[in-house]
Symmetry: C2
Subunit: 444 residues, 2 copies
């Protein structure tokens, strides 16, 4: 019995089989389970990676489970083997839970300029880019270029894009200003671009409007109906308008993990596997697909690609495998929509409970806090995150501001404007510096 | 007025000038101050990098200080300029506090195989290598190779080497065993190699012996008088004995930062600048050197390259610069040895107070805890570290176990031995697997 993927779905499937009379092997290319809903807070210097991740081995400690650090490259449903780096693993029954990855709408070349947010390294990369932009702005004497460093563009106004935009706006307005001498970070522009007519379009229209209002109050420039046609290292092109920005982040498309394409079974247009109501792959009763990798329509609506759905699927698949072991028939999966929330910023969120109750503002935010603490894995992480939040809420500070790579050489030249007293301009000196920039600039 | 380096010395110098009538520019190639004494706990999965670092800008918030992310490449004492990537910065007075780096005793090629511990990236690299070794061991069916993965060698029994060895021994004995199914991590060998006759040789002989005893009780194999003559990706050579190990860590030599060599002034053999008693560079009353970069002999003994000395030097240099501004003569620096501690493991440390009182075992360990919490910068970090320690002490767990890179392809082939039930050997299947490893191996 093999489970590929240690995310929300895979973990629940493994936990649901803990007492089953079967040997379970869990494969993941990383050694840790990641609580992705809070990843944007790592990217925005609130939390540390360790606060939202847990070693899969530790979570799945138990007799019948073996955890292997391995990357599944393909699945051969005929031979019943998972092809991994380092060897094949054959299975009696299989659960695929490898989730989703970024999609750049057929523009893979954009990835370099606009990182997305799926892994801890993604979050570190985004954190470093954002922090470096302000360091660069502090060094940059040319006002035009400085503006480019102080312009942050987020593409895609789904949950991730909205979270990033809200958090970055808050950071630039409340956390950073007092730390910089030359630049006023509260003047930084945070643009959120969305191709569709509204933000968070999976939510009711009224809530989208509320979300947009809250974003704008936070200082985010929201542009809906804005189709991005180009991304490079100097900015973004939307139709015939050009936005010059040195920091561009990607919160737009998701596509199913490429493993799906190796199955040779029907996929939907997002590349997800069209599964039976039992979550089995059509014609393969012993191979199940769950979470973001599964495409399932229920009551005419697709089951959403969110953590609660993945966890429900994981538990259901565990139950179905226990049925198989006991020679009982498989049951159909039903997604119970307990609700979903999207956070916009400190004190602001939107959400829907049981497909009925609509919440926004502080009540929604408090619900969001509670839900995320509850589902965060591990006592240590719960306590750590609660304290970090309390600290951040009380001090407005963002302390996990790490630039660990050596990037100073990528920053603008050092000129008088970036030196002490530069803010109280010293005309003759500034001119001297701009005329022959290589000249040493005097510091008093 | 320019300060190069935001470590213990540079930060104290800047803080000491906060109210002085002078513009201060602090340059650092990283944006954060790092509390290096606890870096080994990041490398051993106890703490997160954010817990032991603070943004320099935030620490030095204040009117007369400008912080720049910049790497100083050279100093021209004649022209009074610091040559940085991106431009020169001239100064009236200068404080050099760029500290020390690793030294591989003329074998730079060893660095690839035996990373040292100076930066957050170093700590992450060591953490990842150690964790990967156990993942590899879990996958490795060949007992011989498995032993190599389960052998950790630390070169150099100074404070860093001892801290790493003690922490790794504890981790393998108490934190990891229950998480692995095939390998018994408590059988892992942790070797500490030291060329000198004793460990922690800067401490009194009696304390060295105690430390060695404590290390051995923790499960560390201590080999003193062991001169390393070779390091490669498969192990370490000591004279004519060969130690096969896949994980080798460097805690041996330190050398002054290369910036010293650009000054064109007399250096000691560790490459440190021989300074006047005022901490000024001989013949350059306006240029000071402090911390690990400074070489100063007091009462026939060199001032040690430790944080307290660097902080005292920083405060003294600030005072001397205030004197210069007021036209008063410079004062000589005197290092007050309040004591120093080296931690071996949970409940065990050694230390000397005021050059008299000698402590070891639990009392020394408690002192060590108190001192490190006290000097850790920032309320948030103090609380975070105290809680992480309490948690680690109570649960014996190491939770910050992150492998964020994709390394599965570097691990041993997957064979039956690494699959469920592999521990309860299945002879025929194991043979089959070993005969034609590429054959899929059956999982029940």
């Amino acid at each position: 019995m093999v489970i590929v993927g240690g995310g929300f779905g895979g973990l629940q499937a493994a936990l649901g089989l803990k007492r089953a009379p079967v040997d379970v092997t869990v494969l993941d290319r990383y050694n840790h389970h990641l609580f992705q809903p809070l990843l944007y807070q790592v990217a925005t210097a609130v939390l540390s990676p360790g606060d939202i991740s847990a070693p899969i081995r530790q979570v799945l400690r138990g007799r019948n489970t073996t955890v292997l650090l391995a990357e599944a490259r393909a699945v051969d449903l005929g031979r019943k083997v998972v092809v991994c780096d380092g060897g094949d693993i054959s299975y009696d029954s299989l659960v695929l839970a490898t989730g989703a990855t970024h999609s750049y709408f057929g523009h893979p070349e954009w990835a370099r300029f606009a990182p997305g947010l799926k892994t801890i390294d993604d979050a570190r990369e985004i954190r470093e880019r954002v922090l470096l932009a302000f360091e660069a702005a502090e060094r940059e004497p040319d006002p035009e270029r400085q503006r480019e460093w102080l312009t942050l563009v987020i593409i895609g106004a789904g949950p991730t894009g909205v979270e990033l935009a809200g958090a970055l706006a808050y950071m630039t307005r409340h956390s950073l200003p007092r730390d910089f001498r030359r630049v006023d970070t509260s003047q930084a522009r945070v643009l959120l671009l969305e191709g569709l007519p509204r933000v968070l379009n999976t939510y009711p229209e009224k809530l989208s409007e509320k979300a947009r209002g809250d974003l704008e109050r936070l200082g985010v420039e929201v542009r809906t109906g804005a189709m991005v046609t180009g991304v490079d290292d100097e900015g973004v092109t939307v139709g015939d308008t050009r936005i010059r920005a040195r920091t561009v982040l990607w919160g737009a498309g998701v596509a199913a993990s490429p493993l799906a394409r190796t199955l040779g079974v029907p996929l939907d247009k997002a590349g997800r596997v069209k599964v039976e109501t039992t979550l089995a792959i059509p014609g393969h009763e012993n191979a199940f697909v769950i979470g973001d990798l599964a495409s399932l329509v229920q009551d005419g609506k697709p089951v959403p690609g969110i953590a609660p759905a993945a966890m429900q699927m994981g538990r259901h698949v565990a139950k179905n495998i226990r049925h198989q072991l006991a020679g009982r028939p498989l049951e159909s999966f039903r997604y119970h929509d307990k609700g979903s929330f999207a956070v916009i910023g400190c004190g602001s969120a939107i959400g829907v409970l049981f497909d009925k109750v609509r919440l926004s503002g502080r009540p929604a935010w408090l619900m969001w806090l509670g839900i995320h603490i509850t589902f965060l894995i591990g006592f240590r992480n719960k306590v750590a995150v609660m304290l970090e939040w309390a600290y951040t809420f009380l001090t407005q500070r963002r302390d996990v501001r790490l630039i660990t790579g050596l990037h100073a050489n990528r920053l603008p030249p050092i000129r008088s404007a970036s030196l002490p007293g530069g803010s109280e301009a010293r005309p003759e000196e500034a001119r001297m510096a701009l005329e022959h920039g290589s000249e040493p600039v005097h510091v008093h």
